[in-house]
């Protein structure tokens, strides 16, 4: 009749094992597949939006052609995307975001009037300002 005494012990052990198994499988599934994927997707979205917002800010900084103007305007961008710093460059009228993770890099064409050139590079953890040097014949936009 000693078996009867074992029943609760076995039952509790079984329950504990089941809960442990469940929790560990859940952690494995979430951290192994779902979470990193979400993090990357969200980071890609942040990178996309950073690029678009920055492009819009730069386009909005450009004055109407034919004006002589010098402007320095700060543009705020996220310090890091997916816990890594990145750079934003302007190449041939295109804004390029260079991230260590290639999936998070991207490029977007800038929409600018004729005679406007954009040059320069930003580091995300550094000061990010747009400098505009406008002369009647052409306008230079510098990311610094």
């Amino acid at each position: 009749m000693t078996d009867r005494g074992f029943v609760p012990v076995v039952g509790k052990t079984l329950e504990a094992a089941l809960v442990l198994l469940y929790v560990s499988s859940l952690v494995t599934v979430l951290h192994g597949g779902v979470l990193p994927e979400y993090r990357t997707t969200a980071a890609a979205e942040v990178s996309d939006r950073t690029l678009v917002t920055t492009a819009e800010r730069i386009e909005a900084t450009v004055p109407t052609p034919g004006t002589t103007v010098t402007v320095t305007r700060p543009v705020s961008i996220p310090d890091t995307i997916d816990r890594a710093t990145y750079r934003v460059r302007a190449v041939d009228g295109t804004l390029v975001l260079v991230h260590p993770e290639s999936r998070l890099s991207g490029r977007i064409p800038l929409s600018l009037p004729a005679n406007v050139t954009v040059t320069g590079t930003w580091r995300s953890d550094d000061r990010t300002v747009v400098r505009v040097r406008g002369r009647p014949d052409r306008i230079r936009v510098i990311l610094a």
Binding site: P8, L30, E45, D48, S111
Partner: protein, 223 residues
């Protein structure tokens, strides 16, 4: 037996927990899917609309005023040149619902609206005064500029041309010219010719009437 009841309750609880987790993950998934792809469409649509209504655009006469002839000549490649973000994108441009340019089917894209004025310049109108018979020409409202060409006949001289009593052309020894005269576009103007007695010349007035119609420019772009 009591231990197994507990086990049963535990399994139900774990199943419920699994259900909640799955629901949570799918909600998060839907939120991410919803958020994708939108900002680039918006950027491209804004870029196209802004470049089209800019003062230096080839389809405008000034900022936010489109030239109707240039709008008729607008095509997809010109839009691409104006706004590089729209390259390789599907887009549709309409004025009060009437399609202007369409490429592909941008139904899933983002629409941006701008209030514009469409400037429509009619063909040249011409009015002539035979100085021997009459002396005034009426220029309708909305004309800001007329070309006045004075052909003095053989008799007498034409000395002055007035627009609503304002002297616009004058020469004591006689006018023989082809001049552009600026008028107010907000009211009709009468051009009056003054000449010496028995003059026989001819004054011809040429102008383009201009109408401004407010329209809503809609740009839909799907990158």
């Amino acid at each position: 037996m009591r231990g197994q009841t507990n086990l049963f309750a535990l399994v139900v609880a774990l199943l419920l927990l699994t259900g909640v987790t799955v629901i949570g993950v799918s909600v998060a998934d839907a939120a991410l899917t919803d958020a994708t792809g939108d900002p680039r469409d918006r950027h491209a649509a804004t870029a196209v609309a802004d470049r089209l209504v800019a003062a230096d655009a080839p389809v405008t006469v000034r900022a936010n005023a489109l030239d109707s002839e240039a709008v008729d000549a607008l095509d997809a490649s010109l839009v691409e040149t104006l706004a590089p973000p729209a390259a390789d994108a599907d887009f549709r441009i309409t004025l009060d619902g009437a399609p202007v340019v369409e490429r592909g089917s941008p139904d899933n894209g983002v629409t941006v609206r701008r209030s514009v004025v469409v400037v429509n310049r009619s063909a040249r109108s011409r009015a002539a005064v035979d100085v021997a018979r009459g002396s005034t020409v009426r220029v309708p409202q909305g004309v800001g500029r007329v070309t006045v060409s004075v052909d003095p006949g053989s008799n007498g001289t034409i000395t002055t041309v007035r627009a609503n009593d304002r002297v616009v052309l004058h020469d004591d020894t006689g006018l023989d010219t082809n001049a552009t005269v600026h008028l107010s576009r907000y009211a009709s103007t009468s051009l009056r010719v003054e000449a010496t007695e028995n003059a026989t010349g001819r004054v011809t007035v040429t102008y383009r009437r201009q109408t401004n119609e407010p329209r809503v420019l809609r740009v839909t772009v799907d990158v």
